[in-house]
Each structure stands twice: as C-alpha cells, then as structure tokens.
Symmetry: C2
Subunit: 339 residues, 2 copies
C-alpha cells in the first residue's frame, strides 16, 4: 500500500497508533499542528514545524528567495498565533544542492530573519545539508504561552458561532495567476492576490487578542482550507458545523480572478488553503464583542456559520447544501480531495 | 558564487552575520549544534535538528527503515548528550514521495520511537510533506538541562587533556563496506563496523556522568570527524590542540577493514565522521578520575592529546605532524576537505 492511497491524514492516524509512549509533560501531542509541552517553568512551550519543498510548495521562479524565507517562517508563526502564543525561537533546516547560489541562500535568510523579527522571534540554530537537487526548508518554531491563554482546536461547543478573519480564497487566486499566464486581470487585484499567496501575514496580534479575551472556544489557522480546518476543529471537539452559503465572505479580487479563470469561487474560498487566516468559534452571544475586539486591528472578521452537535457532519449551503456530507475537505499533501 | 565554493562552515559564517537580531533568552545560538535557551523555568531548553537526506546521508537499500529511524533520532540525542542534557521531545518532519510504501514509513517511525524511548524522549509532533522523489527526514530534538550541568564546546583551557570515547573510525569502516562489495573481512569485524555505522549509540549516559562530574571543561559529539570537531572546540575556546600520533586509538575492526580497503586507518579515525562518540577536555590532573567515572559504563575512553594556547592550530603527530597546520578537517556537507 502506498502513501497516496491513504492520504496525509490517514498516514498521521497510523503513525499516531505506533507511538504509544507519551509523557505527563505533553499537554497536546501528535495530530495537532503545534505540540504543547510543560517545561520547568509556569509557561507552556509550543513547538511546531513545517516543510517547504521546491516543486511541491513553491516554484522557484515564481517567488523570490526573500519572499520564500518570509513565507516559510510566516506559516509557522500562523500556527502559534492560532493558539494565542508568543513565538520565541526558530531552527532552520535547509537541504540544498551544492550548486545553489550563495546570494540566494543569503536572501532566503534575510526573509526568514525579517519575518522572525516581526513575530518577536529569533533564529537560534539549525542545520545545513546537501541535497541532490531542489530545495527543502524545514522551519521549527518554538513559542511560549501562559496556560490560561491557551486556545486549542478541541474546545468548540454546539451553538458556537464560527468566525474567519480576512478573505480566504485570495491565496488560491494568487496561485492561479502563478500557474497560468493567460489570465487577464486588473493590476490592483493581481497585486493583492499575489501578495496574499507569496507573503501571507500571520495573524499573530489578532490571535493573541482573541485568546486573551476568554471569548474564543476553539481556534486554528487556515492552512489546509476553511472546510478542512473546520473539520479539524469539529473532529477534535466531537462536533459538526453548518455554514449557510450566503454567509461565506468572498473578496472582489478572488471573485474576479475566479471568473477569469473559469472556476467556482466558493470552492476556492472553502478549499483553497494557504490562507493563514484565523478560524475560530465563540459563544454566539459574544459575536459583537468579538468583532469589536478585532476592529482595532483593521482586519475584517466574518461570522460564517455555527457549530452543531452532529459530530463529524459539516454541511455547507441551504438544506441540500452544495457540499453536504461529512469528512475532511481541502488540501491533503498526498491524497488531494478526500471528500 | 556557489555554495560548494565556500563550504558548509563558510556558509554558516555568512548566515550568522545576516542575523543581527538576538535576545537575552538565547544562551547559545547560531553556530553551535544545539541552541541553549532560557524559558520561564529554572532549566534551560536545548534545541537541535538534523537532516537525513536519501542519497546524501543514507542509501535506501543499505539501511532498513527501522535502522534509519533509530539513527535519525540517535544523531540528535548525541548532540544533546554532548552538553550533558536530557532529551524530552521530538518533532519529525518527513518529506516523501507519494508512492512510498506505508509499511516503510511505519517501520521508520517504529525505529524513531524506539530510539526516542531509549533516550527518555517522546515524539510529540511534526509534519508530513510530499517530495518529488527520495526521502528527507528532519528531526528536531528538544531537551532540558540545569544550568549548572551544562557543558559547552567553548570551555577548553590550555593544558587540558583531550579525551575521546569508543573507537572513532569504525563508522567510516562500516560505510566502506556498504559502498564496496569487494572487501573481504571476517564476519565479526563486518558486523561490528556495520553496526557502528547503521545503528550508532548516542553516549547519553556518559555525557550526563561527565557533565555532572564538574571535571569536563568542553565537550562535543564526533559527527564531522575527530579533527573537525576538535577544531570546533578549539575555535569556540580560542585554543589549539596537539595530538601525538601514538595516542590515537585504533580499533582492530577498523584497522582490518582499512587494510583490506587500502586506506590509511588514521585518516578514518581522525576524519571519518558519524562516530557519535564524545570528545571532551578536562584538567590533566583529573585524567584518572575521568576514566574511573566512565569505567562503570563499560565504554572505553582514551586520552588522545592536549589543548594548547596556539589558537586555531591543531597539530597531529610528532613535531612535523602528519596533519600539521590549522583549520577544520573532516566532514563538510558541501566542500569536503577544507583543511
């Protein structure tokens, strides 16, 4: 049996079953984006890592090394942001061919260092390795958080409202412009969606504000796609979700690119991935308060639906929903669409 | 300018200069194998990572997935051992082609989990990614240590004796048997050197005993080769070293393979790399005490020379030494021999 037959999440389930050994020091382990660990101090340690592999996660000609460096760090910061945590330290593992330009590597580190500084973290070590061809970057980000501020994906409650920041789908629209040169689109829209794809801004400040408010029950960052990440929340919480089609926020820029590319924009918004927005649930009575909290950051926030007690069922649309049914939908590193 | 022109250590120097931003929380940062970090508690956090890339660090047909998993973890444990630390948590980043056998991945994780358990650590997370072809494993190991037990590579003092555990060079002999099928060698020697290469045993217990003894001034694990790692100690300590040829420990097994392969055995012992033994310095008056401390572990320990105040000069041999001169010698991931 090959990996592609069971997909990324099937493989993670099998791996988790092989690892019986745990420890009282592990608050959250295998299966989450971020491990939560008890050190000798009052704060929890957060640990997460993410690979960017050439040809899989990026195309070398479509992104500058500086942008790539920023993005490789940003996607890890986004994971820590979604717990409400504070990024502290970064390890960089880099596997490159020996013919790689030194200037390329230096620009890559400039980008990583910039994004690290924005997040209040610093690069403290790593590893350099040769690779036959291509480029693989693995970033490990360590963060810290007071236990009382920690928000997990497992706390969603039936009746909670579901919120998402920003405009998911724009990153997918940016990717489309990279993959296809034939799409005609206005310059401001082009710039916007390319930026969203190439230099995503992790919602660190917003994550902290939300986590410290005490209003948020469950939170995750949107890396696999809104539906897939909502499925992660529902699975961890033993809940379901309902998203009325009319409540899905669609940005003008994404809609324009989608129209020009001949795609369904709701598909991009719900399953595009790499948005690095925050997806969270909070008591429905707190909706106004949540929006007011985020208003000072200038980042839009939309209520897209609510949590149900129908475990594992995520329904989108009105009654006979456009994506009715259950399961994980979105970006799977091996299997593609497992819906 | 390409990476191979300046080598691994030249690249690390350039990268370190690009990273001005540090933090009071960083006790040891870029340039060491392990970052030492101040958390909110009394213990320091240790963080290290190492990549194993197919075709560069291993040949898939020459090592079982279980052995590969053990080794990928062991080489990180070895880094923490050389500081006297306690391994706690592991993140596994794995980039694999989608046609990889699930059974292969499961055996890989079995091996990682076994070696983690031996070290008292557990796998708490990671990342799975697709790769066009081949296999890249990046392991991040987090450990903890009381500040008073920490041993760095920077503490060597002129007049210190230099010690090494076990028999460096055996791992290189094992690699030779993997690379060449034409070498005839007795079965017990073959088994011994292959084991040293394929399933290295990190010297965790020994590292802790040495660090807690208060006798050791500087310590490192031998991954790049005895001379290269001694150069790391000398550089960090602003010292030099002298190694009389007669004091270099040569195992019978390594000597036999070397003879059959037509190589110089001292070259393998001093520059072979991947030994994962401990190389350390201690007050010369403490030599007997040091050996007694390790006697209970059953691991041999040899005094191979002493630290001098001739900064950067590492002399091997009698007077006109066989490797006279300065600089780093050993395994460089890009440049090979930079001596």
């Amino acid at each position: 049996m090959q990996v592609k037959e069971i997909g990324e999440f099937g493989l993670i389930d099998r791996i988790a079953r092989l690892l019986p050994f745990s420890s009282p020091s592990v608050v959250v382990g295998i299966g989450d984006d971020v491990a939560v660990l008890k050190t000798s101090g009052p704060e929890y340690l957060l640990a997460t890592c993410d690979i960017q592999a050439e040809g899989i996660h990026f195309i070398r000609d479509a992104i500058t090394p500086r942008q790539l460096g920023r993005k490789a760090v940003a996607i890890n910061v986004s994971d820590v942001a979604a717990m409400g945590g504070n990024p502290s330290w970064i390890l960089v593992s880099l596997a490159i061919s020996e013919s790689t330009d030194v200037a390329f590597i230096e620009d890559l580190y400039r980008g990583m260092s910039e994004q690290a500084a924005l997040a209040g973290a610093c690069i403290v070590g790593g590893n350099l390795s040769r690779l036959g061809s291509g480029l693989v970057i693995d970033i490990t980000l360590l963060g810290q958080i007071s236990p009382e501020h920690l928000v997990l994906r497992s706390g969603a409650q039936a009746g909670d409202s579901i919120f998402v920041t920003g405009y998911p789908g724009e990153s997918r629209a940016g990717l489309e412009l990279i993959l296809r040169s034939d799409i005609e689109i206005g310059e401001s829209f082009r710039k916007r969606v390319l930026e969203r794809h190439l230099t995503p801004q992790p919602r660190l400040r917003e994550g902290r504000i939300l986590a410290r408010s005490g209003l948020v029950h469950a939170m995750i960052d949107v890396s696999d796609g809104v539906l897939a990440d909502l499925a992660h929340i529902c699975e961890a919480s033993g809940k379901g979700a309902y998203i009325p089609a009319a409540s899905i926020p669609v940005s003008e820029a994404a809609a324009e690119v989608c129209r020009a590319a001949g795609h369904d924009v709701l598909d991009w918004v719900l399953r595009g991935g790499e948005d690095y927005e925050l997806l969270f649930t909070a008591d429905s009575g707190a909706a106004t308060e949540v929006k007011n909290l985020l208003a000072e950051t200038g980042l839009p926030c939309h209520r897209i639906g609510y949590i149900t007690d129908r475990a594992g069922v995520i329904q989108v649309g009105e009654g006979n929903g456009i994506f009715g049914g259950s399961g994980k939908r979105g970006w799977d590193h091996f299997g593609g669409d497992k819906g």
